[in-house]
Structure formats: C-alpha cells, structure tokens
Amino acid sequence: MVESFHEFVVHRSPALCRTAYLLTGDHQLAEDLVQTALARTYRHWRRVRDGNPEAYVRRVMYHQQVSWWRRRRLVERLEAELTERADTDHSEATTLRLSLDAALRQLTPRQRAVIVLRYYEDLTEAQVADALGCTLGTVKRHGHDGLRRLRAVAPELVDATAERSTR
C-alpha cells in the first residue's frame, strides 16, 4: 500500500532527523537539512513514492550536506552550550557522545557521511557507494581516512584493532 507524504514524514522523520544530526553535528543545520530534503522529495513524490522514498531522502541529505559544506567551507560553529553541559554531566554515555561530536567535526562531510552510513546505518561499502553516488574505491578511501582521523583525535572511539581490521 502506498502511503501519503504526510504518513511517510510522520513515520520516518525521527530516523531521518537522527541521521541528519550525525551528518551535520548541529540541530539547526540538521533540521534545515531534513526540511530541504523533504521539500525536494515532496516535489518528486509521485515519482519516488512507489520505490524507496526514504533512500531518496537520505541521498538528498548526503548530497545537500556536501553542497552546503562546499559553500561555507567548513565554517563550523562551536557549541558552547554543549561544553557547559559536559561539565555538569560526567556519565560515560555523555562523555562518549561529546567525544564523538568533537571528533566528527574534524571530518569532511564525505568522510562523515561514510562513517555514519557504515557504522550507524550498518550499510556495506557497496551500499554506501550506491547511496552517495560514488565509486567503491572512493568509499574505501573516505572510510579509511575518516577512521584514521577519528583515531587521531578520539582514540577512545576507535581502538587499534579496529583500524587493523579495516585494512
């Protein structure tokens, strides 16, 4: 049964918002990213609703994020508010999350997208290549570079065996 656009947004927007946040690292940007991707999907809804609309939205999000990054040349804004919260909450989960947040900011959007797709969406490298519209070699390179940079800035996230296992 083909669902309406409204039903699609209601059902899938939580997952899309999570992915968007991981891609951008900023709630405002993530919200704008989801909004832009959904607006574009709405324009082509008749064409994409019979296929896999969520994949279409995700692909739009990945490409839009890279496009925005190119335009603003990685003008990252510091989230002072989050740092203050880190001082007040020292639970292990929060510490891990903040470490991840800081580490992901050191990646390029493509590296970030590959990391998110590979280790959050659990896609294979071929599926990542298909989602990003690039070659498998590109995915491997971005994944490798991304992990290496993460290990450099946040070694607690990627242990040594992880890097060896990816080679």
Partner: protein, 474 residues
C-alpha cells in the same frame, strides 16, 4: 572492532528529537515551485518577445512597396555616434540618399571615411566605412533603385569594386580583370541597375608615373567586363557618366562619347569651353537629348542646356533657372514635373583658388573647395532654384537614387539624434562583461554573504512550536 564507535553513534542519535519539519517542508516545496513557475514564465516571455522581435529584425523582403514609397528627405543630418552599419541587422533596405564629407562624424580614425546612408522612406540611417577617399556620386554610387551601393575596395595588387546589397547585407566583389590595373573605382550605374561602369588606372611605365584610364561596363550578376574606352589619365574619362536605357554617355577630355553597354560607340561630339556633361542625370527622360552644364565666367552662373546626343548641337532651351554662387553643379535627374534636380556645391570661403592649369578641368567638388552641398530643383519657368535637400556643413558630396528623383516626392525629414544601435549593443555587452567580471572577482564574498544569511536565518530564536532539543541522555 568499531564497537565503541557504533555505540557512540547510536547513543548520540538516540538523543536527537524528531524535528517538526512537515509544514515547513511543504511551504519550502511550494515556494520553490512558485519560483520555478515564475522563472519558467519569465523564460517563456523572453522567448515570446524574441519570437516577435526576430522576425522584425529579419531581412525585409525587397518589394514594390519599398520603391513606391521612396521619397527625398528635405535634409540630412550627421549620423549619430554608434549608428548601425549597412550590413548590420536589421537591414536598411533600399536607400534614398547617400552623403559624405570631412564632417566630424563622417571621418574616423586611421583615415577612415564614413558614408551616410538614408532609408528610402524613413529617417533611418546607416553608415558605410571606407578605407580610402570617398565622394558620394563620384566614387561611391547608389544604384537606380537604391538597393545597391558600389564602392572601390582592395589594394593595388588586387583592385576591385564592392557592391553591397542593402536588402540582404551581402557584398559582391567585382575583382578587376583589367590587365595591370592598380586601382578600380565605380563611376556610375547603367539605367537598369544591372551593370556598373568602372574606371581602372593602369600604369604606363614600370615606375607608375603616368597612367592609362580604362573604362569598363561590368554586369553585376555575371561579372562580365566589357571595355568601353581607354584614354590617358589626363582626359579624366569617366569623371561623368550618364546612363539611359541601353546607352551610356561619358566625357573624356573635351569630348562626349555615346556608346552602348557592349562598348560600341554610337556618336561623339566636342564640348564648347566652360561646358561639361551635366551629371549622371544628363540624359533627358525621353533619351532624346543630353544635358550639358555651362559656367558663365563673367557672371559665375551655371546653366543647363540640352543638345543632340549625336551632333552635340543645341535642341532648344530648357527655360530652367540658373544657379549662381556655387563651385559646380551635377545633374542628378529629372522629376516628373520636369524639374532638374542638381547637387550644388557651395564654395568654402577659405579655400584657395585652384591653380590655373586645373581651371579647365571638370568642376572640382573635392572637400578642399566645397563647404557644403545642397540639392536644388530647377523648375521650368521658375526664376530661381528651389532647395529640396540641405546638408550640414562639411558634407560635401551627395547622391540620390534615381527612383527617388523619379517619384517627385519630398518629405519633412527629422534626422536621428542621440546615439545609434551599435552604441547600445556595445554598451549592453560591456555592462554584461563588467557585471560578470565583478561577480567572478567577488564570488567568494558573495558566497560568504549568502552563507552568512543562511546561518543567521538558521540561528534565529526558535519559532513557536520549534522546540530546542535537550541533551538528556536516554
């Protein structure tokens, strides 16, 4: 493994709320759709306007309407700066008048001369640039129907005459076939406009100190050259050529010869002193007589009289008023009311007297002698000439299409002012070029400005119903 990375990603994602983006996504999609529709409508409008404008700019079909409406403007003005050229679109179509001289806008850099061209039935102007000396009616000639312009071109190794079609903008090159010719120049048209009379200068000696002048009739379509005469340069053959259907009359030295277009001489006669073949309109409309122009040295008046083309004897008075106070006159043609239209060259008061040896030559109408030119109508029975066309100072040469003279109509002219089409064309191109250059140079600043706008919009205080996410671990 990457267990900790996966764990951190999931932990972070779990804290992300679902943003309320549905309504705003719809609004964004609708706004984008409106913009696209507006852009598409604009593009469609541009296409429609272009579709309407292009046919207007297309070459007008030459037809009887253009010739039927041909009228003589009562004055000509200097072409505005940036006036379109005769080969530019939209084409001018048949012309009524051409003129030139040393006036400021008729004389360009690098010794470029400009010939002004006036439309047959409106005050549209075009210009034609020439590398060498140009004199309308002497070295640049308008065809009888006003459609073609003939001008000298090429160099001494490849002398030729260009015939420019004012309707299509195409130029036909008539390369001289006269052996060893170093200069080729048109001197007149045949009555039907199918042939051009061309004068070639051929050096007699290797040094080129003296020349022989060769007069030829050239069919414009077939480019067939027929020799009419060859004389010494001093005879000034071809200085005046008059055409009647199937016949030509031309002066060389003190003799007038009448030939057909194949070069067969039909008659010739000697001219009295102070008398010349009157001009390109020397044939009377019925072709039965030739008109001569006589200067009375005692009164400095110019009069016209008609002679038998075979014997040169007078065949009766013309009863036309005399023209006085001018350097020379050239008979352009005959109006339907029997008036003779003459170009009258008014003297430049500062010009020196011509040397004695040149005072027996055909009347000089060079810019050194002439201040301005007018077209006068010499009406039978009138006591004085009537001015039918005036030109600004330093416009010293004029030619009028035969069909315009034959129409007998004169209109109130308002020569164009301001600037011409080429000025707007170049200004537009320059503006686009500068704008594109500025956008290219400032592209980084523009990108930053756009990004700042977007970021500021994104960082605005949360709108109602847009909750700021919290970082409470779940």
């Amino acid at each position: 493994m990457t267990a900790r990375l996966r764990e951190a990603l999931r932990s972070t994602a779990e804290g992300v709320p679902a943003y309320p983006v549905y309504e705003r996504a719809l609004a964004t999609a609708r706004r984008d759709r409106r913009r696209r529709l507006t852009a598409a409508t604009g593009a469609l409008l541009v296409l429609v306007v272009a579709g309407v404008a292009l046919p207007l700019a297309r070459t007008p079909a030459p037809g009887p309407a253009a010739t039927a409406d041909a009228t003589l403007p009562d004055r000509v003005g200097l072409p505005p700066i940036g006036t379109l050229h005769v080969t530019d679109r939209p084409r001018l179509g048949p012309a009524s008048v051409i003129f030139d001289g040393p006036a400021p806008r008729l004389h360009g850099w690098n010794d470029i001369n400009v010939v002004g061209v006036v439309d047959a039935d409106s005050d549209s102007y075009r210009i034609m640039r020439m590398g060498g000396e140009s004199l309308a009616g002497e070295s640049v000639h308008l065809s009888p129907d006003g459609r073609y312009l003939a001008r000298p071109d090429g160099d001494q190794d490849d002398p030729r005459v260009d015939v420019i079609d004012l309707v299509t903008g195409r130029t036909q090159r008539l390369t001289s076939t006269v052996d060893r010719s170093v200069s080729s120049s048109p001197v007149g048209w045949s009555a039907d406009g199918g042939s051009l009379v061309v004068r070639d200068d051929v050096p007699v000696t290797f040094e080129g100190a003296t020349y022989t002048t060769v007069l030829s009739a050239v069919t414009v379509g077939e480019k067939r050259w027929t020799r009419l005469a060859a004389t010494a340069e001093e005879a000034h053959v071809g200085s005046v050529v008059a055409a009647a259907p199937g016949r030509l009359a031309y002066q060389y030295g003190r003799t007038v010869a009448v030939t057909d277009l194949d070069g067969r001489e039909q008659s010739s006669f000697a001219l009295p002193d102070e008398t010349w073949l009157a001009g390109k309109g020397a044939w009377r409309p019925d072709g039965a007589a030739l008109t001569l122009a006589t200067r009375r040295s005692e009164t400095d008046e110019w009069t016209l009289r008609q002679v038998d083309p075979t014997t040169g004897r007078d065949v009766g008075p013309l009863r036309l008023p005399a023209v006085s106070g001018v350097v020379a006159i050239r008979l352009l043609g005959w109006a339907p009311d029997g008036s003779a239209l003459v170009a009258a060259y008014e003297p430049d008061p500062l010009a020196p007297d011509p040397p004695l040896e040149e005072q027996t030559d055909p009347p000089a109408t060079s810019d050194q002698q002439v201040h301005t030119v007018r077209v006068l109508a010499l009406t039978p029975g009138a006591t004085a000439p009537r001015t039918v066309l005036t030109a600004p100072d330093q416009v010293v040469a004029v030619d009028v299409a035969d069909q315009v003279i034959r129409s007998g109509r004169i209109r109130d002219a308002r020569p164009p002012g301001g600037v011409g089409g080429r000025f707007w064309l170049w200004s537009g191109l320059l503006t686009v070029l500068v704008t594109v250059s500025m956008l290219y140079v400032g592209r980084q600043r523009i990108a930053l400005w756009l990004d700042d706008r977007r970021v500021k919009r994104a960082c605005r205080p949360a709108r109602p119903g847009r909750q700021r996410p919290t970082w409470t671990a779940r």
